[in-house]
């Protein structure tokens, strides 16, 4: 409907019956969601600037409430009821797409888009070529055509649900690129029903596919690293535990540096430890673990589970024993049948991981906190041992060498 004609008053009879005001009147009276908008639109137009045309003063909502049919129209015309309605040109709304091209759209079709509707109401734009409404950037001429097809179909109130559904199903049979553009454009025009329709269609294209297939369908980059795909144990930058450790180490480093600086002032004999870092560590750690393993064993099993005996009333259960009926024993018989009977006296443990001291510093859960403490204490122990080895005059180079091994 891209017709660049001037607004002229044309006698009713010469107009294309299909574009009659009666048609529009029916639209206005029946399309409840836009009725108030249209009504207010009319009032607004009456009051505002030079682009108003006289025909707006017509109380067209008083027009006969009839379905869109030519017979009705002709009968109305012959009855002269159309005399109530002033001869009226087909109304268009002017829109401009991002590429600069301007076109006319039938008013009822355009007003189906909330964004356009709002623009018309709030700014009064769209009545002429010079005042064309600028459409959002995501709406190019091709996809605008599709959207208008959608609007043109659905703005007609006479359509049955079945008709609408059939139309919709056919409408979304587009290639991926077009579908994406359409979704995006519909969203920018706030055309909710179309956004839902296209989104669902896109979702159906995604369901059941592997990531690779999805990438192919939508032409997307494969930019996740293998690490990210696997959600690694140690995400160095992300792990707050690691970050905290690093912060603590950094603090320790600073302290030692400070101490070092102060010591150097006092010109003392430097103790040079010729041993390599590895040797030192293995010394500190001992043959099969040393400090580290001793410390590990000390902290593990610190929290013993509480025993709680539950009074199991096995006699009141059905004679078949207290089986779990949802997932029955697949093979009941075992080489030693008596072992099953022994199983019936069960002790319910309710071990609690003690979280009484759960002051969640640095947002670590207690299990992590425990491990963190363990590591830090380990580090402190290494450092202490190291200090004692070198009479407190440990070389800074050794320190940083050690640090780099972390």
């Amino acid at each position: 409907m891209i017709i660049e004609t001037k607004n002229t008053h044309t006698p009713l009879l010469l107009r294309n019956p299909k574009q009659s005001t009666e048609h529009r009147a029916v639209f206005l009276t029946h399309f409840s969601s836009t009725i108030s908008i249209s009504l207010s639109f009319n009032y607004l137009r009456i009051d505002s600037g030079p682009h108003i045309s006289e025909s707006r003063n017509v109380p067209i909502w008083n027009a006969p409430v009839k379905r869109n049919s030519e017979e009705n129209l002709h009968s109305l015309m012959s009855e002269g009821t159309m005399a109530i309605v002033k001869p009226e040109m087909k109304s268009y709304i002017w829109v401009q797409t991002a590429d600069g091209s301007i076109q006319q759209v039938e008013e009822e079709v355009a007003m189906f888009c909330p964004m356009i509707c709002r623009e018309v109401l709030q700014t009064g734009m769209g009545s002429s070529k010079n005042y064309a409404i600028s459409l959002p950037q995501r709406v190019n001429p091709a996809v605008l055509g599709l959207i208008l097809d959608y609007c043109r179909f659905h703005q007609l109130p006479g359509r049955s649900n079945k008709e609408r559904k059939t139309f919709d199903e056919k409408f979304v049979r587009l290639d991926t690129k077009k579908l994406c553009e359409l979704t995006s454009a519909a969203d920018s025009l706030q055309l909710r029903p179309l956004v839902d329709l296209t989104s669902r269609a896109l979702a159906r294209m995604i369901e059941g596919k592997t990531p690779e297939e999805i990438r192919e369908t939508f032409n997307l980059p494969d930019d996740l690293t293998e690490e990210e795909k696997l959600e690694p144990l140690r995400n160095i930058t992300d792990d707050p535990r690691i970050r905290l450790l690093n912060r603590l180490y950094a603090r320790k480093r600073k302290e030692l540096k400070e101490r070092e600086r102060l010591k150097n002032v006092e010109v003392e004999e430097e103790c040079v430890d010729e041993r390599s870092v590895d040797e030192l560590l293995s010394f500190i750690n001992g043959g099969n673990g040393g400090v580290w393993t001793i410390f590990e064993r000390a902290t593990k099993n610190k929290k013993k589970p509480e025993e709680k005996r539950s009074t199991k009333d096995s006699s009141s259960n059905n004679e078949n024993g207290s089986h779990d009926k949802n997932d029955m024993v697949d093979i009941v018989a075992t080489p030693n049948k008596t072992s099953i009977l022994q199983d019936s006296t069960s002790v319910a443990f309710s071990p609690k991981l003690e979280f009484d001291d759960s002051v969640f510093e640095d947002e670590l859960d207690p299990a992590m906190k425990e491990e963190l403490d363990r590591r830090f204490c380990h580090w402190a122990k290494i450092e202490d041992l190291y200090q004692s080895l070198c009479n407190g005059n440990g070389s800074l180079k050794r320190y940083t060498g050690l640090d780099q091994r972390q």
Binding site: T176, C180, I206, L220, E228, S316, M328, D330, S350
Partner: protein
């Protein structure tokens, strides 16, 4: 596409994608999709609570509203997992209490839940709606009282087969008078009597109540009153279905049942007095789900009952139904999707009822929509299995449990390899399989060759050598869970297929031939696998390395070795520390 597709629009597209598999696929497409998806993910399913930590989950998915967790391995149901093994949910709840204040739904299976946990749930989530505890343990009715009292918007409280320390039935009275939001209440596993008047008042003031499953302690005489107050019920679990024989009870019951026009599911039926069975006849035609697995109804009454349920889709029943009852089922219930037949007395060596493979064969002939089967019986033949396979090509779950291990085909005395082979060959969509009877490595060859969609496999007392296990691990592409007991599978197949284990959720092996040395090796080689040795005989270090371990549980994890193990569980890792 990415060039002008705003995030909100993509998020809107994702809102129509709900299946876990699809969401996982979406998150792996590219960086931007990963980011968008993680912020709009509302539903999380963690199939193994030790595969990931709460911290990792919360870090990745900040806006979760529905969480489902599973704890102990499936074989815990058969008492193969010692008490105290683990599966504690408390750390999860603690973490989620801080991170997900808007959490609405928690579903747990085979986890240890304490009263403290329940109290924390009830006080941390203002919009908490649904609590489903399936095969859980560790809590008392005090914890339930906290849930009842504090969860203002509670819709569902479902205790399925839980082990609850039932201190008293008083907890039910903790539902405040203002509670009107209940949709589903399942207390079938509780022992104590609840206050009947409190129950009646609760039922009466919850107009949206759709599912009510009572415990055994609710007597039959109380049922009509409850039903009259809740005619909108879709699912009902009766209490004890017995009372002194009085005609007024029967008529009252009949009338009450007939008032439940939309009832679709029935369960309960403890201690059935057959005279009262006809009370439900009026609603049988609407019934789609019937759980009679606690009902001691005998065959003729059972047959009569099921044959009235023309729209039956799911039947759980004891073997009292016998072959004749199953024949009646096959003739009447053409819509049947799922059948479970449980043994009434599995311990007696001789059959106490006349239930054989014939029952299942007739159901397979009469019910073309059959998808899910769990069948306990004492004899089977290859012919029967082949017939069943040909009749029911839509089977997705097939679990056959021949009670006595190593039972051969009773007609030919041969192993049942061919029969199960036919099952996996004809039922291309099979996702779950349990095998039993006399089986050689050959059956595993068939399974590895044909069962490409198989996700869960349970094996007991089967196979000849490592080759069997090798066939399964190398052939079953979709395998997620494998549980094995008492089979001669050892180190070789396991170590050869170590990489496969990282594509699966878990592997359980008990009373097999896997050695301690192999476990250690596996633990050292595979950084993202937790290899747990369960041995109640004491530390495996006290025995030679080539000594088989008692039980072995291997699962993939990104959370590292767990820290809450009891004294009889050892994690094999690089440091080989306890």
């Amino acid at each position: 596409m990415a060039y002008s597709f705003p995030e909100e629009v993509l998020e809107h597209v994702f809102s129509f994608i709900q299946l876990d598999n699809d969401r996982n696929a979406v998150s792996l497409v590219c960086k931007s999709w990963y980011e968008i998806e993680r912020w709009c993910r509302r539903r999380i399913f963690v199939g193994n609570c030790y595969a990931v930590s709460p911290r990792i989950m919360i870090r990745r998915f900040p806006e979760v509203r529905y969480v489902e967790l599973k704890g102990k391995p499936h074989f815990a149901d058969y008492n193969l997992v010692p008490e105290g093994w683990g599966g504690y949910v408390h750390p999860w709840i603690v973490a989620m209490a801080r991170a997900y204040p808007l959490l609405e739904e928690i579903r747990l299976k085979r986890m240890v839940v304490t009263d403290e946990t329940l109290e924390l749930i009830s006080s941390s989530f203002s919009n908490f709606k649904i609590l489903v505890l399936s095969s859980c343990e560790g809590f008392t009715t005090d914890g339930l009282a906290a849930i009842a009292a504090n969860c203002r918007n509670l819709r569902e409280l479902d205790l399925q087969e839980c082990e609850v320390d039932d201190l008293s039935g008083h907890w039910l009275s903790h539902f405040p008078d203002t509670c009107t939001s209940l949709v589903s209440l399942n207390i079938a596993c509780l022992v104590s009597e609840v206050s009947f008047s409190a129950l009646e008042r609760l039922v009466a003031r919850c107009p949206n109540l759709r599912s009510l499953r009572l415990n055994r302690a609710v007597p039959l005489e109380r049922l009509p009153n409850l039903l009259r107050r809740a005619p909108q019920l879709i699912e009902l679990g009766t209490g004890a279905y017995s009372a002194d024989l009085r005609s007024d009870v029967l008529s009252s019951l009949t009338e009450a049942f007939s008032g439940c026009k939309v009832l679709k599911g029935l369960s309960g039926f403890w201690d059935v007095v057959p005279t009262y069975i006809p009370a439900v006849y009026s609603i049988c035609s609407g019934i789609t789900s019937l759980n009679l697995s606690y009902a001691n109804i005998q065959s003729p009454d059972l047959a009569k009952l099921v044959s009235q349920c023309h729209n039956l889709q799911r039947l759980w029943v004891l073997d009292y139904i016998e072959d004749s009852g199953l024949g009646a089922l096959a003739a009447s219930c053409k819509d049947l999707h799922e059948l479970r037949v449980f043994p009434s007395d599995p311990y007696v060596p001789e059959p106490n009822v006349s239930l054989t493979e014939q029952g299942l064969v007739s159901v397979s002939e009469g019910c073309p929509k059959l998808e899910s089967v769990l069948y306990f019986c004492r004899r089977m033949s290859n012919d029967a299995l082949i017939t069943i396979a040909r009749n029911c090509r839509n089977l997705t779950r097939f679990r056959l449990c021949i009670l006595e291990p190593h039972t051969a085909d009773y007609l030919t005395r041969e192993p049942l390899d061919a029969g199960f082979g036919a099952i996996v060959e004809h039922c291309k969509g099979l996702r779950r399989l349990s095998v039993s009877g006399l089986l050689t490595d050959r059956v595993f060859e068939y399974i590895g060759t044909h069962a490409k969609k198989l996700e869960m496999l349970s094996i007991a007392f089967a196979g000849d050598s490592d080759l069997g296990l090798h066939h399964v691990l190398s052939g079953c592409e979709s395998l997620k869970k494998l549980e094995i007991r008492d089979c001669p599978f050892g180190d070789k197949a396991l170590l050869d297929n170590a990489a496969k284990l990282q594509t699966m959720r878990s592997l359980w092996m008990s009373s097999c031939l896997v050695t301690y040395g192999a476990c250690k090796l596996l633990g050292q080689k595979m950084p993202r696998l937790n290899v747990e040795v369960i041995d109640e005989r004491g530390s495996p270090d006290s025995r030679p390395e080539n000594c088989p371990v008692e039980k072995l549980y291997i699962y993939r994890s990104i959370a590292g070795p767990r820290l809450d193990m009891p004294g009889f569980v050892w994690t094999m890792d690089a440091n080989m520390l306890h």
